[in-house]
Symmetry: C2
């Protein structure tokens, strides 16, 4: 794993079989406990060298009323809890407070935190976002309450239990000889191209999802697919499943609803894009993203074939 | 892929970018359209040699009021829709009707349908189960309505859109030299052992989920993990991600809440279990399940090392 790849390292011992047994009040009276706080979607850090997302418990007092709390487990034997505050609470952590609010993508891009803290923040953000959008029972419409240390929601109305959601997404480097398929969405930074991606659908294998999404978005048929690596991606709560696939065809039929542009990029141009020296000014995917890692893997593999 | 492995083959062209554009009324007036019908959790088949889950549209009339309909896409150019009826509707497809109701697990175990129809049924069951348990908005509690040909639910109250859920689950063959880790849950058929498994949690990689679940359930530390293959598992809506992992330790500390028994089974006994000739009468995982395939892969790989 390259050190830049975000959110893949999570050093927590999740204590997942103990969650029902540990009351939040006990965690909050333990002086070793640290809190990971998100205001809306934005992490709060304690300033320092280095800064840290593992806050002392009294930092939570600044945040006003908390919307949600969860028990994340142990870090080097000390408890870690997660807390969700309203978006407005970020204002209480501004300049001169010894804290700052900074969005998770830019924290990863700047390597502003140790890799393990980015992983803990990814877990926190995915879990708390799920709570924030799942306060009612999808089965009967009644309000639900958190349980299992924040890893479940329970409906007193119909008895349903709801568990945090993680959406599997395929992201694929598709190769055709010495060229790879790269596309850009309109929302990407100017000039940036990346691998194609899409949600795995009900009743679908990872490999079939790679083939379907590639055909839908670019009109390219894919044969062999192999898994490469994965990455939690908390925007809002995906698991990116990185694959490398072999194209069987190369004619492009682009889905203009999804993608602004798709190209076959030859190896020498891929190298220039990754080094940010391409004459058109186009670049590869961001180093925090698994797509960047897939391109690097392919470049290394195709290097060894040369 | 061995032919017995269930639900991995799905020949539908999902037409996922066209779902918003095709009205159900048009699909139902197309004489080529076939319907896949589930009563509660139970698929309905048309008898014949072979039987088929692809029913003529008029079969839906027997089912009474349908609770949900979805557009699954095209099969050899002909539309396929999915329909959910009440559990009681199964009674209308009994002996002498030319139809039968049969649960999906036994259909797979008996290879009672072509592999592709099992895959279509898996998609249907996962999708319709999601609808049936998600009729209300998790964000605001208001009733929701289906959209996008049944691949979305929409809330008129708060504007939220909800998409079908697929839960990533890791299932792992853990090896320590020439032994593998097999366990049994109390709900398994008598004598059956299988691979350990568990849900991927928020902010967790596939590889870390393998390590965490193995340690939690059996007390065994796992080092290297590699992806082997995957399987949609519609009970109710999981994606089984099959991995092979190398144990670093072999002392067992069993989570008795999850597992009745866990053992290290030597290769020669694994062979006897898979051939149903083990002197204790214990057996390996069912041939329809990915765990069976993982054991076969490991046996084949360890064979070639001998």
């Amino acid at each position: 794993m390259p050190p830049t790849l975000g959110f893949v390292t999570n050093p927590l011992d999740r204590q997942s079989t103990e969650r029902d047994a540990v009351p939040m009040s006990a965690l909050k009276s333990d002086p070793r406990t640290r809190a990971v706080l998100i205001a809306g979607e934005i992490p709060i850090l304690a300033e320092g060298d280095p800064a840290t997302a593992l806050l002392p418990l009294d930092a939570l007092l600044r945040a006003g009323e908390l919307k949600e709390e969860a028990y994340l487990g142990l870090l080097d034997g000390a408890p870690v809890i997660a807390a969700l505050a309203a978006p407005e609470a970020a204002a209480a952590f501004g300049e001169g407070t010894g804290f700052r609010a900074q969005d998770l993508r830019s924290l990863a891009m700047q390597s502003a935190l140790p890799p393990g803290e980015l992983g803990i923040l990814a877990e926190t953000k995915a879990l708390l976002h799920w709570h924030d959008r799942h306060r009612f029972c999808a089965n009967c419409g009644a309000p639900t309450a958190p349980g299992a240390g924040g890893f479940r929601r329970e409906c007193a109305g119909c008895g349903a239990q709801h568990f945090p959601r993680t959406d599997p997404v395929v992201i694929m480097l598709i190769a055709h000889g010495d060229r790879i398929l790269l596309g850009r969405q309109a929302r990407f930074p100017p000039g940036m191209f990346s691998c194609l991606a899409g949600f795995v659908e009900p009743g679908e294998t990872i490999e079939d999802a790679v083939r379907r999404e590639t055909f839908e978005e670019a009109g390219v048929r894919v044969g062999a697919v192999r898994y490469a690596t994965c990455q939690p991606w908390p925007f809002p709560m995906s698991l990116m499943i990185g694959c490398i696939g072999e194209a069987l065809t190369d004619t492009l039929v682009v889905d203009a609803q999804e993608l602004e542009e798709v190209r076959w990029v030859p190896r020498d141009e891929v190298v220039l894009m990754m080094e940010r020296r391409h004459p058109e000014g186009i670049t590869g995917p961001n180093p925090i993203a698994i797509a960047h890692h897939l391109v690097r893997l392919w470049l290394a593999a195709s290097q060894s074939e040369m």
